[in-house]
């Protein structure tokens, strides 16, 4: 039966999560690139949002959320055909249209997160084709495994709002694309610094606010679970921000704004999978660990591995999401303020399931993204010409400039 309160909250949450991509993430990323590539980033996020919306209706929603298969759903809800207006989404008190839309906004932001890896050098056509295939072959199966009643759900894997479904899939794919595309011209010593850190901060603020829809909305009800999810989200975000500020202050003598807001995103990504299962004390620790480890991993990826995951998607989202999945098994313990383990389950057993999930999602994302990227490369090519890259994508690919001054 449809519950008005829950429905009202989920409609609001859906709008908040869409707002995370349009314009939150777009501006967050847009500020971090050089001025000649600003519009290309905004366009990539915008294009992805529209493309995924249509694909979600055509078949992706159905493949993710219908049918009882262990690996993939079926096409019974393709185009939402035959769905009565007042259909109720399974195991919820929401109209199916609202659940469909809420989940669509997650499917939109996930490939948009990957944009951070390939900014300033990937063809727009390749971005669209890659996104189309990626949503169908990576996002949809993984969503089905975890949220659609697939094999990981059957084993009891807990991923409240998308540590694996959203952040690890995006993070691993970011790494794959960054390697296959190769680094930006001049990487690592001569790439241009972020052109508008203030824009990045504005985008981060929209992401932060939107994240309440993301995490508290994932309760699918307007009640205690949503309230606690919102609370731990705020605490983790704030803690990770302070951690990042502290590290930069100690290391460089100056805490930077770009660093602070990156810490915010790390804290948000890390709490995401745990947000429905842990208490506020745990959120402090999760924010602390997420902030510190993600900071460390940015340096590892860029300077040790020499991979130009340009805007640190793997280090912040992939690593944060995976840490959150693991820490869920610890801090869901009722003795530590969490919701407690399922009957007959222990911390060790839950951790084993969570680790299985990390391994499976990591491997699937890695292999399938690699194949998709190779196919796209063969069909239309992944990378723009060196000349286009030097002049900037805005003028060469989109025929306009971010700033006419």
């Amino acid at each position: 039966m449809i519950d008005a309160g829950n429905t009202a909250w989920l409609i609001t949450a859906t709008a908040l999560v869409l707002f995370m991509t349009l314009p939150g993430l777009s501006l967050f990323y847009g500020g971090l690139v050089r001025a000649e590539n600003l519009l290309s980033v905004l366009m990539q996020c915008f294009g992805i949002a529209c493309l995924v919306s249509v694909v979600w209706l055509v078949c992706a929603y159905s493949l993710a959320f219908s049918g009882g298969g262990a690996w993939i759903g079926d096409l019974s809800k393709a185009l939402l055909s035959g769905m009565p207006r007042d259909a109720v989404a399974a195991n919820t008190t929401l109209p199916e249209t609202v659940f469909f839309m809420f989940q669509m906004t997650f499917a939109i932001i996930t490939p948009a997160l990957i944009v951070g890896a390939f900014v300033e050098r990937m063809k727009f056509s390749a971005v669209l084709l890659f996104t189309l295939l990626w949503v169908l072959l990576v996002y949809v199966p993984v969503t089905h495994w975890i949220w659609g009643g697939g094999w990981l759900a059957e084993r009891g894997l807990l991923d409240f709002a998308g540590g694996l479904v959203v952040h690890l899939t995006a993070g691993v794919t970011a790494l794959v694309l960054a390697v296959l595309l190769g680094p930006r011209l001049g990487f690592p010593d001569e790439v241009k610094p972020p052109h508008a850190p203030w824009m990045t901060m504005v985008g981060a603020c929209m992401l932060w606010v939107g994240w309440f829809g993301f995490n508290a909305g994932s309760a699918l009800t307007a009640g205690a679970d949503a309230g606690m999810a919102m609370t731990v989200t705020q605490i983790s975000a704030a803690t990770a921000t302070l951690v990042w500020i502290g590290i930069e202050w100690a290391k460089f003598g100056k805490p930077s704004l770009v660093g602070a807001v990156t810490g915010t995103i790390a804290g948000l990504a890390t709490i995401t999978p745990a947000s429905g299962f842990v208490g506020p004390g745990a959120a402090l620790i999760i924010g602390l660990v997420g902030g510190a480890v993600c900071y460390f991993m940015v340096g590892v990826v860029k300077r040790r591995f020499k991979i130009d995951d340009a805007l640190d998607v793997f280090a912040v989202h992939g690593v944060g999401g995976a840490i959150g999945i693991l820490l869920t098994a610890v801090f869901m313990d009722a003795a530590l303020g969490g919701v407690g383990f399922a009957e007959g389950n222990s911390m060790g057993a839950q951790a084993a399931i969570q680790l299985t999930g990390i391994g499976a999602v990591l491997l699937w994302s890695l292999v399938v993204s690699f194949i998709i990227a190779k196919v796209v490369h063969a069909v239309i090519g992944l990378r723009v010409s060196a000349e286009t890259e030097e002049q900037g994508l805005d003028l060469r690919l989109h025929g306009e400039r971010g700033y006419n001054m």
């Binding site: 690592p188 790439v191 241009k192 930069e248 460089f252 930077s256 860029k302 640190d312």
Partner: protein, 112 residues
Amino acid sequence: MKYIIAVIQPHRLDPVREALAGIGVQGLTVSEVRGFGRQKGQTEIYRGAEYNTQYVPKVKVEIAVDDEIADQVVEAVGNAARTGRIGDGKVFVLPLEGAMRVRTGEMGADAL
């Protein structure tokens, strides 16, 4: 006549303008420019990565004046722009061969 070009720290522009107004300079041209001197750019750090900026933002002030007050102008610009730190800039003085006020067609020093 002399043509004086001063490349200064952007935040010293207003003091320079005030100092010049004080000694009777009637007009000047300002542009935002980038460059480097002994300062050799500066380092910015984003997410732990260092970016070396080759060129530092500066403001270029151009002033055309009579010979009599040229030295005074150079001195005024120097005093107003000086912070004592590296990167304060430079002032150049060039001979100026001619000038015209476009509206009236006046030539030479009368045009200044």
